[in-house]
């Protein structure tokens, strides 16, 4: 009998909302959206955690410019506070080495992380999801009950084809979908909006392609001043994320 699964609910009990930033497709800006969302919510006075579940290609730590931070041992592991957010990632344990994990190992690592991480009280835990609709997506749905999905796409037909599959899966499993964000918008196009409508998913808005965004990677203060962050904040103001919880 694996005892770890039993404790996960208790570990997440003091978190008000779980937001999974996902896409199905890689390279659409999930990590940037997840990290900027976490930073923005924290800047607005909320207690925020950020969990990078992309074990094969973790990148939230690069965006945050993580340096010399490590979890503290205290009846489990307590994530360090990085630029105001409690940040947990497999990078603390695998450094910048490749982590070639197969399915069962991915699940085992997720269960271990969720069983031993002491988040304490949080308004939001933002989860940076890997591409795909396999292990991490299914494990998040299984173990992080009540998670709401914030789905990201680009205007590309290629991205939308995969994003559509994630949305269909979430709908089939009756998992809450906050809505669809269209990232890296360069030209007028209504494909993403139409796709959202077709699947009865709220279309939350678009983020223009920001050619200066790369310069802000690793510098959260600069990141929050980019056009990208401003566009994301407009979207944020249209959601219920900033409502005061009762």
């Amino acid at each position: 009998m694996d005892p770890r699964q039993n404790i996960i609910e208790k570990r997440l009990a003091n978190i008000n909302r779980l937001i999974a930033v996902a896409s199905g497709k890689g390279g659409v800006g999930k990590s940037l959206i997840a990290t900027t969302l976490a930073l923005s919510l924290s800047k607005k006075g909320r207690k925020v955690g950020l969990l990078d579940l992309d074990f094969q290609g973790p990148s939230a730590h690069v965006i945050l410019g993580l340096k010399n931070a490590y979890p503290k041992e205290e009846k489990g592991i307590v994530p360090p506070e990085v630029h105001g957010i409690r940040f947990m990632s497999i990078v603390y344990y695998v450094k910048d080495e490749p982590s070639p994990l197969r399915g069962t190992d991915v699940s085992n690592a997720i269960i271990e992380l969720l069983a031993i991480t002491q988040w304490k009280k949080l308004d939001f835990l933002v989860v940076d999801m890997p591409p795909g609709i396999g292990d991490q997506t299914l494990d998040l749905i299984r173990f992080m009950k009540g998670s709401e999905f914030l789905v990201t796409t680009t205007p590309s037909k290629v991205a939308l084809e995969t994003v559509k599959k994630l949305l269909k899966l979430l709908k089939e499993l009756k998992i809450p979908i906050m809505g669809l964000i269209e990232n890296m918008k360069m030209f007028p196009s209504s494909l993403a909006r139409e796709q959202a409508k077709e699947l009865s998913v709220p279309f939350l808005g678009e983020i223009s392609f920001d050619r200066y965004l790369e310069e802000a990677i690793g510098n959260p203060n600069k990141l929050l001043e980019t056009k990208f962050a401003r566009d994301l904040n407009v979207i944020l103001s249209k959601t219920n994320l900033l409502y005061k919880s009762i």
């Binding site: 404790i7 592991i77 271990e112």
Partner: protein, 141 residues
Amino acid sequence: MHEWALAEAVISTVVETSKKEKVKEIAEVKIKIGELQQIDEEIFRFALGEIIKEMVRDQDSSLENMKIKIEKEPSFLKCRVCGHEWSFISQSKKLSEDESESIHFIPEAAYVYIRCPKCKSPDFEITKGRGVWIDSIRGTR
């Protein structure tokens, strides 16, 4: 003390399983700890004891006389590419303190720091002795 989190998971599972099985008094729980995770048995036992004391104080008497048996399970790994099998202990001395500690927290970090001693592949499986496991719970209904 990361052992505390695992001890808490063990006790929580024991309590829930006993409730499900309508066990009034738990006589014994047998726990296996896999060598790969390098759990400090003394700390783990201390944490289990403290958590039980706390629960008994909170009126859960089912755990009061519970005996705890801990068995260490040797860890074995098997290469998926060349089929070679080896024990974790035979290679563990090659790990640095940091690498060992990472495997202690997340045993899957083994795939980052360990390679098949024969063909150097990272594509192996942990066949035995990964983490903490409840082997059996004995009690009276």
